[in-house]
Point group: C2
Chain length 205, copies 2
DNA sequence: TCTAATTTTGACCAATTGGTTAAACTATAT
DNA sequence: ATATAGTTTAACCAATTGGTCAAAATTAGA
C-alpha cells in the first residue's frame, strides 16, 4: 500500500497520533501534524473540525486500546497464579510494543481528568473485580485478600507493569550509567514481576 | 509575613511553580504566572531571562527535592525490613503532601529527557545500591536478591509508591464509582506496600 | 536633600497559533 | 461532455505568545 493509496482521513489520524503522543496536546501544532501527514493544514479542519476534536479522537482510541488490555485476564480460564503470570507477560509485552502510551495517557488524564470520566463511566470496574472474586474464592481466601485489599493488590500489579514505562525517561538515563539495557530489563521483568507478586501472596497465608 | 513583604523573586518562583506543575511547560503562560504572582509580566524577564530559564529553575528544584527523598533510606541504621517500612511511610507521606509532583516530573522528563541527564550525572546511583548491598549482605543473600535483581526490586518499590500519584487522575475517578476514598487508600497503602514487599522477599528464601 | 542605581510598569512588537474562506482541482454520474 | 458533489489548496485573519524597551517609580547612598 503506497502512501497515496491510504485514505486522507486515516493518514491524518495516524500523523496526529504520532505527534500528539510525542509532544502532548499543548505541545503539538496543527501545521506539524499536517506536515507529518503530507497534506495541507486545512484538511485537518475539513475532516476533524478542530484541534480539540482531532485530539479527542486520538485520545479516546488510545485510551480504549489501553484499558482493553486489562480485560483478557478476567476471561482466561486459569488459576490465579497463572493469571498473574499471563497478565505480566501480555501487558508488559504490549507496552514494549507501545512504550510511549502510558506517559501520554497518564499526563493527558492528569491535565484534564474530565476526559477520562466519560470513558470510565461505561466501564464498571466493580464488575470486573467481582468476577475475580467469584472466579477465585478459594485462592483469595487462602491469600487473605479481602474485598478491601483487592484495590491495593490490583493497583500494585498495574504499578509494577506500567511505571517503568511512565518513568522511561529517567530509567533509561539511569541505566545508561550502570550498564543495564532497558529492553533487557523489561524482558526479565515479566518473570520477575509475576514471581514477586505470587510470592507476596503466598507468604500472606 | 504579608504578601508585599515577600521578595519579588521569591513570589515569582512560587507562582511559576504552581502554574508549571499544574499546566506543564507547554501549557503555561508567562502572563498567567505574572497574574498569580500579582506583578507585571516584564518582571519575569527581569529576574529570569526567559520562560526556559524560569522553567529550568523550577524543574531543577523540584527534581532535586524529589530525588533527595529516596536518599535517607540508605543512611538509616535499620534492618532491611524496617527500611522498607520506613521508606513507604516517609515516601508516600511526602507525596501525599505534594501529590502533583510525580506526574509533573515524569511528564517533563519524558518530554525532554536531556533535562534529567544533567541532574543524574551528579548522582551515582550505583553507589547507593552498593551501599545497600554492603549494609545488608546477609538479608539480601537470604532473600536471594542478587546484584542483577536489585534494580528490579528497587524499581518495583518505587513503582508501588509513585504510580498511584502518577495515575491520580484515573484512580480518583475510578474510586468515585466504587465508594473508595483516595486519601484513605493512600494512608492504608503505606502499610500494605511494606508488608507486600517484605512478604515477597521472605517467600523467596 | 540630591543623585544614581535598582525595580516596576505599560505600551509595543514580531512570530506563531488555530481557524476560515473562496477558489481550484478531481472524480462521478448522467 | 458537462454538471454536480466532494476534495484539496493557498492566502488570509484575529488572537495569543514570549519577549523588548524606554519611561516612571522606588530605593539607597552621599
Amino acid at each position: 500500500m503506497t502512501d497515496s493509496d491510504r485514505q486522507t482521513e486515516e493518514k491524518i489520524f495516524e500523523a496526529a497520533t504520532d505527534v500528539f503522543v510525542e509532544k502532548g496536546m499543548d505541545g503539538s501544532r496543527m501545521q506539524d501534524i499536517a506536515n507529518h501527514a503530507g497534506i495541507n493544514k486545512s484538511l485537518l479542519h475539513y475532516y476533524y473540525r478542530s484541534k480539540d476534536h482531532l485530539f479527542n479522537a486520538v485520545f479516546e482510541k488510545i485510551a480504549d486500546e489501553m484499558f482493553r488490555k486489562f480485560a483478557p485476564v478476567f476471561d482466561e480460564n486459569l488459576s490465579l497464579d497463572d493469571k498473574i503470570r499471563f497478565f505480566f507477560r501480555e501487558h508488559i509485552g504490549f507496552l514494549q510494543r507501545n512504550p510511549r502510551l502510558p506517559a501520554f495517557l497518564l499526563n493527558e488524564i492528569n491535565r484534564n481528568p474530565g476526559r477520562v470520566k466519560k470513558l470510565i463511566r461505561n466501564v464498571n470496574v466493580n464488575k470486573f473485580w467481582m468476577m475475580l472474586m467469584e472466579q477465585h474464592p478459594d485462592e483469595l481466601a487462602e491469600y487473605r485478600i479481602t474485598k478491601e485489599l483487592l484495590p491495593q493488590l490490583m493497583i500494585t500489579i498495574a504499578s509494577i507493569s506500567v511505571f517503568p514505562f511512565a518513568a522511561r525517561g529517567i530509567l533509561e538515563t539511569l541505566f545508561e550509567n550502570m550498564d543495564i539495557d532497558f529492553d533487557d530489563f523489561l524482558e526479565k521483568r515479566k518473570e520477575f514481576a509475576a514471581t514477586f507478586v505470587i510470592n507476596a501472596l503466598k507468604n500472606n497465608k
